[in-house]
Symmetry: C2
Subunit: 446 residues, 2 copies
């Protein structure tokens, strides 16, 4: 591309930076009497602008847009390198964080809409095995990595490191699948089903390992089988009961909603359905996105036949502007929370490299659980790799626990976990795009 | 309608209440470790559900949907009457409040898009006179009302009461005009232009009155003419400079943005433009909605000719789902913040009635400022009536100031102001709908 074509980009970037530098200073002087929407207006502008410019550059380089969004976030979040600290508040802004979560909830709802309970059931056994192997292998490998590189620490610490590696963060994979219009492929169905089951299994493992560590530290009884059964029953009960109720009631509920003849009722009913399922999932200690995905799975296009608005717009086209607005907020904020300072801590990089390898191999192994023939096992394995924020949540819990006066997750271990999360998250979009591109036509679910 | 037709509504309402009662209890037990999105998911479901059911009932009764949304908010916000306090946290939830503000910002941006700088300029003189009369008359009437009903208070208190009455809240009017598809009428243009100017004038009056009171109380110098000029210059400077810059640069900026060929760039560029203008307005101490309206005013459909997506969707159709999601949050939350307990305080109702009359007459007088012939003066006067949250912001400032040990705005006066705000806000939607309906075809701007 010629210099005159490059100009607008340089101009846009320069304007963004200049505007950012100019605008952010007064926000810092803002006291508590300032309308809370004011800093959000600025941060949304920066996040959306950075997402689009970086996403575009990323697609021009043949990479998925989400990779650009993540890197844009990392750049904005690490401007301390050039002595700029004025945007640091964005990292912990509670409102921005809620907007980001609403974004990923809407994305998983959209992805769920593109699938059906029936299609999911047909890959159920494979998804279950994929999830199970995808939890056991990284757990064992993480434990082994801990025992090898942290020989002085208690075995509980090694077990906890294994637990951290079990988590799967489905957001990145869902986004790449959606951008490539591959959510209806059998590989996508297996990945999404397995990610949901993984969330339940991860919850149980975390409860067991933390329970055992707290008991060992305080000399208590450990976690009882009854408690483990209770946690599992609560999570599985949510999934089972809500899917059953949803199957039985959703069509009727949407028929009732269709009688409310007012503008926007189709979109609003769908959003309420999505938000309530996400809320119920959170009550069962599952990730809200699991509920959003289940909500999308339950809804079929035929549910909306009676809506007047249906004639003008599909639900997907109504949701699209909302996800255009909110989804990039999630991915930029994910990047923004990456603190590159962790890279520099001594002894961290070795552990990080081993953990990343363990995370990678552990999830590749899970493709052995696929029962169907003709499924691209590499794609499924790659789709399960990203750990995202789920791994960090586990690590944060570990950081608050001690065993014999020693922190279960020390700052150095935490830094290694962060690097593992970055590595698995950043590599997945290009790897998945490449892997899906190899196979010209994704196998449909038969 | 027969009993079998009424059933779905009763069923929906009952389900909503039951679900609400069931779901809200666990949220209360939530500690700080709970993901902050969780309570937001619940409150959004309640707000959106209540908005649509009440909006539909309202339209069936021939009233604007926004009246139903306001009343739905008042009902949900005053469930203490039946001993239900579990939703009280929604009133002060910061995230819900930011979502509501983003809603009203998007609404004013949409309304601004339906107008042009040129059309606004043609009604400029009328809008200025309407704003000026609409500030002077309520100020005088409010002062007189204070002098009459609060004879024991200092004249400064009376003056402050006048200042409280000057504010115009454009949200309600904008919403009614948009729902009735009347934003392009000359009446709408005058109301919207006047509301923007009103915001500047209100800011100056508030600064002057508070400055004088603080000086009188602390024996200082009062506010100087230089300071008044500074405040006015800052606000007018923002409006003038941003409009000028916008006129000169917006076409070019959107041409550059159009070169970023990535999904969602049209909507995202428009949102960034809207958010940045709202932010700049806030920096000039103006309401963010003034900036959003100005941003919409500056953008013309021809700005978007080069966007690929333009071929599929207009910007308006892309914004519509976002406003369907967020706008009702604003109006329900406005209702939710109405505490009916204020109605019961002794001596309040008399002052409230007089203030409401003063607010009403004061804004009706402003239609005298219209220079064009054939304009429906009653509609313009009615459109300027609602005080909304702007009046409350003024009253809140007064509540923090004292003069000679006496609070400028006592709790009783504050309650009367709240009732005045409720009265002017609730009456406007039906009055405006009636007034616009009288004239079959709104006069276009010529």
């Amino acid at each position: 591309m010629g210099a005159n074509r490059r100009f607008p980009l340089v101009f846009t970037l320069a304007s963004l930076v200049a505007l950012g530098a100019l605008l952010t200073r007064p926000a810092l002087a803002a006291d508590s009497t300032v309308d809370p929407v004011v800093p959000v207006l600025l941060s949304l502008s920066i996040v959306l602008g950075a997402a689009k410019v970086a996403g575009w550059l990323s697609t021009r380089l043949g990479q998925p847009a989400v990779l650009g969004e993540l890197i844009a976030g990392i750049v904005v979040g690490n401007l301390w390198i050039v002595g700029f600290y004025d945007l640091d508040w964005m990292r912990d802004d509670p409102t921005l964080s809620v907007l980001a979560e609403l974004g990923i909830i809407v994305l998983l709802f959209e992805v769920g809409l593109e699938s059906t309970v029936d299609r999911m059931r047909r890959v159920g056994a494979s998804a279950f095995l994929v999830a199970l192997i995808g939890v056991i292998t990284p757990f064992a490998l993480g434990w082994a990595a801990g025992a090898w590189l942290l020989p002085g620490s208690s075995p509980y610490v090694h077990a906890f490191l294994g637990a951290v590696l079990t988590a799967t963060s489905v957001g990145i994979t869902a986004r790449v699948l959606k951008d490539l219009d591959a959510t209806r492929s059998i590989e996508a169905q297996i990945i999404l089903g397995a990610a949901v089951i993984d969330d339940v299994l991860g919850l149980v493992i975390l409860a067991v390992v933390s329970g055992v560590i707290i008991a060992a530290d305080q000399g208590g009884q450990g976690i009882s089988l009854v408690e483990i059964a209770g946690i599992s029953a609560k999570a599985l009960g949510f999934l089972g009961a809500s899917m059953l109720l949803g199957l039985l009631l959703s069509r009727r509920l949407f028929r009732i909603a269709a009688r409310v003849r007012i503008r926007g009722i189709l979109l609003t009913s769908a959003l309420i359905f999505c938000f309530l399922f996400s809320y119920l999932a959170a009550l069962a200690d599952l990730a809200p996105v699991v509920g959003a995905f289940a909500a999308g799975l339950l809804l079929e296009p035929s549910h909306f036949d009676r809506f007047d608005e249906r004639r003008e717009h599909s639900l997907e086209s109504l949701l699209h502007p909302i996800s255009t607005f909110l989804v990039p907020v999630f991915f930029v904020l994910t990047g923004l929370r990456v603190d590159l300072r962790t890279l520099g801590e001594p002894g961290v990089l070795g552990l990080a490299a081993v953990l990343t390898a363990a995370a990678w191999i552990g999830k590749q192994a899970c493709s052995l659980g696929i029962l169907q023939r003709g499924v691209d096992r590499l794609t499924v394995g790659l789709g399960m790799v990203p750990r995202g924020e789920v791994g960090l949540i586990f690590a944060n819990i570990g950081a608050t626990m001690t065993i014999g006066g020693e922190r279960v997750i020390t700052p150095a271990t935490y830094a290694a976990v962060v690097i593992m999360v970055i590595a698995t998250t950043l590599v997945t979009p290009p790897a998945l795009q490449w892997s899906l591109g190899r196979k010209r036509s994704p196998t449909p679910v038969t």
